[in-house]
Symmetry: C2
Subunit: 173 residues, 2 copies
């Protein structure tokens, strides 16, 4: 089997996590063992969590963090949670138990200075050779994109919430 890819879905648009979901769906069909780590609580929604239950032997989803925001009242606690989440992700990457790992919203931890960019990028470069990793989140750093094999930018051209349309089950969550 060829070398695993490092895939980055970034940009301000909506499709980043949704495309990662699609990647998971595709990989499930190949019998891949998959681990999803959500660095921000709530980024994976009811729909995918329910559908994922059809694949109990192949798909694990871990929710880390606690919904980081700039408004946090306890930044030290946030940093600690982020670092624990990243440590957990490293264990998962090194476990050799998976073919594909999704690090959903990982870029936020870097952007918010909660884990060091260099540490993340170097670690991902040295991941097990056959492991595919998908990283999502806005504002992927240049060094992360340089390390990646495939980088896609998702850009909102038109967004229904801007027009006052409510989020809808099955579509938005």
């Amino acid at each position: 089997m060829a070398k695993g890819l490092l895939i980055v879905n970034t940009g301000d648009g909506k499709g980043k996590t949704t495309a990662a979901l699609g990647q998971v769906f595709r990989a499930l069909g190949h019998g891949f063992r998959i681990c999803v780590i959500q660095f921000i609580k709530g980024s994976w929604k009811y729909g995918e969590l329910e559908a994922g239950k059809q694949f109990p032997d192949q798909l694990e989803i871990h929710v880390m963090g606690r919904g980081f925001t700039w408004k946090s009242e306890d930044i030290d606690k946030d940093i600690k949670v982020a670092q624990e989440a990243w440590d957990f992700a490293k264990q998962v990457v090194l476990s050799n138990k998976y073919d594909l790992i999704v690090l959903d919203e990982l870029t936020y931890l870097i952007s918010y200075g909660m884990v060091a960019e260099e540490e993340v990028v170097n670690f991902l470069k040295l991941r097990p050779e056959k492991l595919h990793v998908v990283v999502t989140g806005r504002g992927a750093s240049q060094s992360l994109m340089d390390a990646a094999d495939l980088v896609t930018e998702m850009k909102d051209i038109k967004h229904p919430f801007a027009a006052g349309v409510k989020a809808q089950p099955g579509i938005e969550f």
Copy 2:
């Protein structure tokens, strides 16, 4: 239930169909009945076709067309196949049997002049009120984007094939 959304995934990047796949995965978890129509043969790959079999009561996938290209040697036949595919899609949209319909690579039929843009856009505007429709493909026309509720552009920042990396099972197909 609120009005269904018309979602367009366009741009030159890789995530268009993959994000639609993610949308399908999410919607499956909500118990949606889903119909996928591929206007270009091969755009939905082995992985998602296999994974989709876990949801036989909810998900139908129809492969239309025959891999349109500019190199076609029988353009009249191509146009006929495209128009039959579009007629089939219209029946599906009007059938009231689905909550979400994916019209994968539909934009190609418009770009190649195989079905009229105005006909497609007007038809989609008049779709059943609660039906969600996802259209994918490069070069979505302005009138299609105007009619849509949500438009995302996927842009390749970096692509592994450009660096000579081979397509891989579970990731590319």
